[in-house]
Amino acid sequence: MSPLVAGLVQAGILVAALAVVYRPLGDHMARVFEHKSHSKLEKAIYRFARIDPDAEQKWSTYAYGVLGFSLVGIVFLYVIQRLQALLPFGFDRGNVGPAMAFNTAISFVTNTNWQSYVPEAVMGHTVQMIGLTVQNFVSAAVGLAVAVALIRGFVRHQTDRLGNFWVDLTRGTIRILLPIAFVFAVVLIALGVTMSLKSGVDVDGQTIANAPVASQEAIKELGTNGGGVLNANSAHPFENPGEWTNLVEIFLILVIPVSLTRTFGRLVGQHRQGYVLLSVMATIWTAMLAVIWGAEASGLRPLEGKELRFGIAGSAIFADATTGTSTGAVNSLHDSYTGLGGGGALLNMLFGEMTPGGVGTGIYSILVMAVIAMFLAGLMVGRTPEYLGKKLGRKEVTAAAVSILAMPAVLLVGAGITAILPSTRGALNNPGAHGLSEILYAYASASNNNGSAFGGITATSDWFQSSLGLCMLFGRFVPIIAVLALAGSLAAQKKVPVTAGTLPTTGPLFASLLTGSIVLVAALTFVPALALGPIAEALQ
C-alpha cells in the first residue's frame, strides 16, 4: 500500500467505526440523562453523599456544585501527590514538589492533563490510580453534565431548574464512561498494552518502566483527557503498541464528542439540529487533517519525533484528533512537526476546542458559538436573534461572549508575559520563530484544557507552573459558569413559535454561518500571534 492509500484506509476505518456507534451511543447518552429512576449503586452513592437525587437545581446551585466538586478534587489531588512517599506503589519516587503538584492537580481536574512531570520518575501507581485516573473519569463527566444542563436550557421553558449536577455527574460516570472504559481497557491489553503493578520490566538487560497502563489509557482517550501514564504518552509502545491500538485510541478520543451531536439532536427533538453541528465539526476537522498530514508528508525530516509503526498518516490523524478534541494525548512529537503541521495542531486548539471538542465541552462550546453566530446574523438582518425557539437577548449574548473570550484573554496575556520574561529563553528547546511557537502552544494548550505540548519547552519553573495552572483554571471555569448562566436564562424563557422570519438552523446556510464564525473569531484573535510563530516558520 502506498502511504497515501494506507492513510486513507485508516481514516476510512475510523469514520466507519464512528458511524456504526453514532446513533446507538448518542441515543444511549440521551436516555441516560432523561431517565427517571436511579440504579442501586447510584442510590448508594447518593445516600453516602447525603444528596437528594430528585431535587432539581437552579443554574447557580448547579454551578456551585461544579465549582465545589472541582475544588475538592484539586485539594485531594494536591494532597496525595504531596504525601506520595507514604502511599504504596510509590517506588521511592518521593513526594511531588509543591509547584508541580499544584499544576498537576489543576491540570487533571480541569480535564487538561498538561504534564510538567515525567511519570516514570515522579508519579507512583497509587497516585496514578486513585488520583489521576479518577479525575480522568470525573472531569469528563463534569463536561458532560454542563453540556446536558445547557441543552436543558434550550429544551425547557419557564423554569429555573436545570437538573441535578450530582445525578448528571454520577450517571455520566457510571452509565457512560465506566462501562466503555472497562471494555476497551481489556481490548487494549489483548492488543498488547501493558497492565502491571510492577515498576518496570527487564528487556534484554535494559529496565523499561512499566505501569498499570491499560486502565488509565482507555479513560485517558475516552474522556478526552490525554495525560500519559508514561512520558512518551501514546507514542510509548506500552501505551500504544501497534497500528490497531492506534486506531482504537483515536476512535476512543472522537467517539463521545462526535456522538454527542446525536444526543443533542435527540434531546431537542430534532435530529437535524445535531447533524448540522456534526457537519460543521467534520468539515473543519477534515480540513485540518489535510493541512497537518499534507505538511508532514512534505517535511524535511518527517520521521523525527514519529514512531515508524504509525507512519506519517497514523501520526497526523492522531494529532488532528487529539488537538481537535481537548485530549492532548500525543503519539508523535508536535514540537518536531513542520511549521505548517505544528501550526495546524495549534490552530485546532485555537478554534476553541469545538471541532468536535472534548467530552461535553465540545458540544457546549459549539452551542455557545452558535449563539454568537445567530447574534451576528441577527445584526445583519436587523431582528432579535433566536436559536432553538429561544430569544437571544442581551443576557444570553453577554454570557456567550464571556464564554468565548475567556480563553483568548488568558492565553494571550499568559503567552505575552512569558515571551518577554528573560528567564524564558533558557526554557526553550528551539531557536527563532519555533521557540515562540513553543510558548504559544503551551498557553493555547493550557487555556483550552488540551494538554498536548510542543514538548521541548521546559515548563517546570515556578512561573510556568503557576501561570499555566491559572490559565487552565480560568480557561475551564469561566466558560463553565458563563455557559450555566446562559442555560439558566434560556430555561427561564417562553418558547418562541417558529415563524416565516425564523432563520432555519438545520441547513447549509446555518452550517456556513457557524463555520465562518468559528474560523473568523479564531483568525481575528490569533493571526498576529500565529504570524510571528508557525506562519513565519512555514515561510522560511
Binding site: 488520583g131 534484554d204 512518551a232 515508524l308 518536531s336
Partner: protein, 176 residues
C-alpha cells in the same frame, strides 16, 4: 457562600465514593482480568518485542536513534529548522554510512531521526537491508540466512516495518 460550602461538602463525599469505584475497584478489576492466560504476558510485557534495546556488537541490527534518557521515555522535540540539530542528523548520517560501508545518500531517514518514544522497536525494510551485509559478516551467518531472519521479523498492516528486537533475538538463536 453557604450554598457553595454545602455543595463542596457534598462534592467531597461524592469524590470519595467515586474514588473507591474508579480509582480502586476499576483498575483492580482490569488488572484482575489481565491475569488471564492470553492477556497476562501482554500485561506484564513478558518477552516483549515492543521496545527497542541497543545491543552491543556488530552482529546485531541497530535500532533508530533514541533521544530518551531512561527511565524517561521521549524524543528530541527538535524542529526541522533547528540548525544545531540538523548538524546532529548529518553526523548520524555520516556515521551510519561509514558503519555500513555505503554512500550517505543511501542512508534512509529512519536511521538518522529519533523516534517519539525513544523506544521505537521498528526500522524500515530499507534500513534493515542496509545492515544485512555487516550483520552477516560479524555474525558469521550467510547473507541469505540473515535476509530470511529479516523477512520473518517484517510485518505491518498499513506501514511495513522490521522489528529490531525480535530480529536481534533471532540472530542470537541462530548463532548460539
Amino acid at each position: 457562600m453557604d450554598n457553595f460550602l454545602k455543595q463542596s461538602w457534598a462534592g467531597l463525599r461524592i469524590l470519595l465514593a467515586l474514588t473507591v469505584l474508579l480509582g480502586v475497584l476499576y483498575p483492580l478489576a482490569v488488572w484482575g482480568v489481565s491475569r488471564l492466560p492470553g492477556l497476562h504476558d501482554n500485561a506484564e510485557a513478558v518477552g516483549t518485542t515492543l521496545v527497542a534495546v541497543t545491543r552491543e556488537g556488530d552482529k546485531y541490527f541497530v535500532p533508530r536513534p533514541s533521544a530518551a534518557t531512561l527511565p524517561a521515555s521521549g524524543g528530541s522535540n527538535k524542529g526541522e529548522l533547528n540548525e544545531d540539530y540538523t548538524k546532529v542528523v548529518a553526523e548520524r548520517r555520516v556515521a551510519v554510512a561509514q558503519r555500513e560501508g555505503v554512500s550517505e545518500n543511501q542512508v534512509p531517514q529512519d536511521a538518522v531521526t529519533a523516534s517519539a518514544s525513544g523506544l521505537d522497536p521498528h526500522i524500515s525494510p530499507e534500513y534493515a537491508a542496509l545492515q544485512v551485509p555487516r550483520v552477516a559478516r560479524a555474525s558469521g551467518l550467510p547473507v541469505e540466512k540473515v535476509r530470511e531472519l529479516v523477512a520473518a521479523s517484517t510485518g505491518g498492516t498499513f506501514t511495513t516495518t522490521v522489528n529490531v528486537t525480535a530480529l536481534n533475538r533471532a540472530i542470537d538463536a541462530a548463532t548460539r
